[in-house]
Amino acid sequence: MSRPATTPGTRDIELQRTGLTSALAETWKTPSGLWGALATVDHKIIGRRYILTAFVFLALGGVLAALMRIQLALPEARLIGPDRYNQIFTMHGANMMFLFAVPVMEAVAVYFVPLMVGTRNIAFPRLNAFSYWIYLAGGAMLWIAFALDMGPDVGWFAYVPLSGPQYGAGKRADIWAQMITFTEISALAVAVELVVTIFKQRAPGMTLNRIPVFVWAILVTSFLVIMAMPAIVVASTSLILDRLVGTHFYNPAEGGDVLLWQHLFWFFGHPEVYIIFLPAAGMVSTLIEPFARRPAFGYLALVMALIATGILAFGLWVHHMFVAGLPRLGDSFFTASSMAIAMPAGIQVFCWLATLWDGTPDFKTPLLFIIGFIVTFVIGGLTGVMVASVPFDTQVHDTYFVVAHFHYVLIGGAVFPLLGAIHYWFPKLTGRMMSERLGQWSFWLIFAGFNATFFPMHILGLQGMPRRIYTYQPDLPWHGLNLFVSLSAIVLAAGFLLFFINAIRSARSGEVATDNPWNAPTLEWATTSPPPSYNFAMIPVVGGLQPLWENRDALSVADGLRTDRRELLVTTLAEAEPQAREASPQHSIWPLWAAIATTIMLIWSIFSPWAVVWGAIPVAITLIGWFWPKGTPEDES
């Protein structure tokens, strides 16, 4: 095929295969050493970094949980005093929700969505780098504050007036509010990148009904992030304003309202849990195909269920406020909507069961986690239906029953699929397999430990044990179960420890993996393990939902992209027809500078409102440096 005279640059068709891969490697590579690490815009490097950081936060949050369980094992224990304990449970919740659960799902998406849709990099790669640094800065700020006895102590949802200027002494609540700002900037940035990648950078032929379910899940999740995070921006900003410059949003004495906080927070907070759960549901739909050895049952139902969940998620928030004194009729509407969201969840479960029914199970570790997920998530979903009922909730709200419920849906519903997905995608991420034996052991320890730890909490809640208490008195009948729970937590911790050991050891010396060790159907398995910097030597062309199962002998690809500049393909939204060969930015240190400038401005603004004015200047300078064109081949048009 001859090249048209007008097209500049070297194109892939002019090179033999080895020449092609080495030219692409040269164009797409991240420079080695510290500079490369700081300036990379490769979604895989950033994604891996993100996943690792999130798991570090998981471990730290687990340590906090262990401390709580030790304190609660016996009545009126004196291990941890009330001030420290209140910081610990606040940190545990805030850390797990904002620094682990949402970021880890986004991180997995950052790594795998571009691969699954067949493109070379995520959209807005520099923004991706920026979002990681901002996330790291926010997490570091929170934990450093905690180490300095300045950790927030008002609960992960920081109700006013407790977190307000009158009762929230010091800077603890401000640290919390600003951590929110860091993590929400990071999450919003990643959400925008993912939406644009999924809309515009899919492989030719990947029409809407050929998009993998995981990618649909991420698309819906990203829209949830975009529409829900502004609510907590507004909430945390107005809280800082109340505390720092004397506004009265939450001061009933001057026309403000205490419940306004709850409305704003939970308008975000409810979609937040679906931001965590939907990617996990997408992971289940992904894993079930290679491990049931058949395509997932009910593609349309699964996708519609994800979309329905996303939409409904915005109509539930008042169920967190059932005892706050709102009108009864309004509350009942939210009972109906909260129960209704069980529908799309149920549909997905039925589709997964149907897939298993007609499939041939391969009982490897990822499938074990799927099974564990179904067992525990259904319990969590059912207790969710229970707390959705206003009268039921009046007894169990703010008790250990709710603690049990949300751990069942978060650990059972999100962490189990995540752990299964890590085992599944580990070879793609690192080039090595995780140990199957350690995987099975860690699964059973986690599964048994989790249920033994959290199931009794349902009973404790019904027996009158409220949440967020640093101790309880001996004349209450709770010490037996509490001791049992604390001991079971050891088993759970052991399971997680084994998982971490497995991951670390396997990354170094696990069995070397082939391109597609699980014989899985989606595009990320069409390239090497781990993928080269450019993902695919030639962009895949897709004709169905399971491309690697439909083309077992040869993968259809497209050629014609340049090799002397970073090019990827932009396609139409619905039909994925090729539209342009778009350039993808090279590595750049500006995202790091911009993140540093933003971090300084945000932390400074905890102490002074003028930070927003003066601190904005370095931010503007770094952003100008970021966007100023540098005359690279990618700038050509």
């Binding site: 095929m1 194109r11 515009k200 040869a554 497209a558 064109p629």
Partner: protein, 200 residues
């Protein structure tokens, strides 16, 4: 895995404008985020208004003059804005350069008037919740104008350099113009809220 070439991408353009451009979609996504944010603050305004016995709380309604002036300036700026978008599509460098200068001036003008708009609210942000939400609404929109103005100024400067005559820059100008339309359009419900709901 073996590969079999079924498609040639070589004839595709190296850059797209409008909906083919990823930055266009990114701009749209940011508009969605900020629009949601504004909608929420307006919802907060309405919520606090519904709770109050009298609204505004302990303050007269804001002076109409500065706010209405800002509205007029912003609405007027839509005309050159739409023109510059068209010129950018045609990749007419000279006209785009002129247009960027005009848009820079039209971005500074409302800010000058806005300085007078804050005291015209006739209430302080720390007097009561009404003052807090009114100042916040106005402050958010001001931040909006400032960030887009900086964007416009930088882009204007860029158009006068040697890198200015590039299809990508024209695409940036179009995206910037689209964003300015958004800045103007979001002002209208905020204006209605601050100045007219207070007079109901």
């Amino acid at each position: 895995m073996r590969e079999k070439v079924v498609l040639d991408l070589g004839r595709l353009p190296p850059h797209g404008m409008g909906t083919t451009s990823v930055t266009w979609w990114g701009t749209l996504a940011f508009m969605l985020i900020e629009g949601t944010g504004f909608a929420l603050v307006i919802a907060v305004y309405l919520y606090l208004m519904s709770l109050a016995a009298a609204w505004p709380i302990n303050a007269p309604p804001p002076d109409l003059l500065p706010g209405t002036l800002v509205t007029l300036i912003l609405l007027t700026s839509l005309a050159p804005n739409i023109l510059i978008s068209r010129w950018a599509e045609q990749q007419d460098l000279r006209k785009v350069r002129i247009g960027m200068v005009i848009m820079s001036i039209l971005g500074i003008a409302p800010l000058v008037v806005r300085v007078f708009e804050f005291p015209a609210l006739k209430v302080s942000w720390d007097s009561n919740a009404y003052g807090s939400v009114a100042w916040t609404l106005l402050g958010l929109h001001t931040t909006h104008i400032i960030t887009d103005l900086v964007d416009t100024l930088v882009l204007a400067a860029l158009m006068f350099t040697r890198r200015g005559n590039n299809e990508r820059r024209f695409g940036d100008v179009r995206d910037n113009a689209m964003y300015w339309n958004f800045v103007v359009v979001t002002w209208l419900p905020i204006y209605g809220c601050i100045y007219w709901l207070a007079r109901l």
